[in-house]
Amino acid sequence: MDQGWYHIGGLNLVTAFAMGVGTFACRAGGYWLFSRFKPSPGLQATLSYIPGCLFVSYVAPAVVDGGPKAWIGATVALATMKLTGSMIWPIFTGTAAAWAVWALST
């Protein structure tokens, strides 16, 4: 990094703060709003599908475009999660597998 650790860029600060405001709006807003009226079944269903679809939308193009290291890393991470049921191990095994493929191919 060419900047000091204490550097605070105006726009970065605004973005980080806006993220805080947005996150709190979701945490508090759902409680506030839906204690006044019940969400329609359609809205409830849409919101319940969004988290899974969101992660798929992030992961799928990134893995496909990432080449062999991403394909193998992804497979290993998925298998590790399935086997261990813990969020900790896939981070290590997936990264290690991607790293190994990358090291062998460069």
Binding site: G20, G22, A28, C53, F55, V56
Partner: protein, 236 residues
Amino acid sequence: MQPPPVTFSREGFTRGLKASPALVLGGVPFGIVTGLTAQAHGLSLAEATLMSFFAFAGSAQLLALGVWTTPVNFLPVNLTALTVNLRFLLMGPLLAPWLDTLRGWRRWLSLFFMIDHNWALSLKEMQAGRNDAAYLIGSGIPIWVAWVLLTMAGHVLGSVVAAPPGHPVYFAALSVFIALLIPMWRGRSDLLPWIGAAAVAFGVSRLLPGTTWHIVAGALSGGLFGALRDRFRKPA
């Protein structure tokens, strides 16, 4: 049977505190990876720390940092984070039996400290008939403190390692989201929405390369598709 009245006491706070170490421990690699990703995307240590301090939103921050450019692309970054956080809209109302009884700062501070893990634990407390609403803040504070410190640790680690962009160490962030797919999977009804989301995400990523609109577009279209499909599907 009438559940016991809701309290907000030191005992409840302490019960929450005692439940938190396991959650803190589970979050260690997650926090480190988030700090590492922040460093790789050009945030200073101070900026990364402030972000974790304000937002306290694990997966939202990590995903948003993954698409963060220098200078920062304000709208896509915040829209990505917001989409990850939409799930909170449905989580808050389930805590209403506690929150409704709280006044002023207690209610809103409780909501600030609501994350997936202590939300689930709080629901279990309710089911067990333990109605002390201070549990949520008690279990949230240590996780929040740890989250800020771990972000810092990850950032420092990133500066020390100083891996070039594209280095496989940054695959760690993607690994988190790949692994999250397993607990996210709720069964076969998710299959078509997920395929739809992936297809839309692909299309948009080709149409608008180098941007992050494909994430939001895939998420929203998958969500709408799932809801419409459920609506028109014959009840089993």
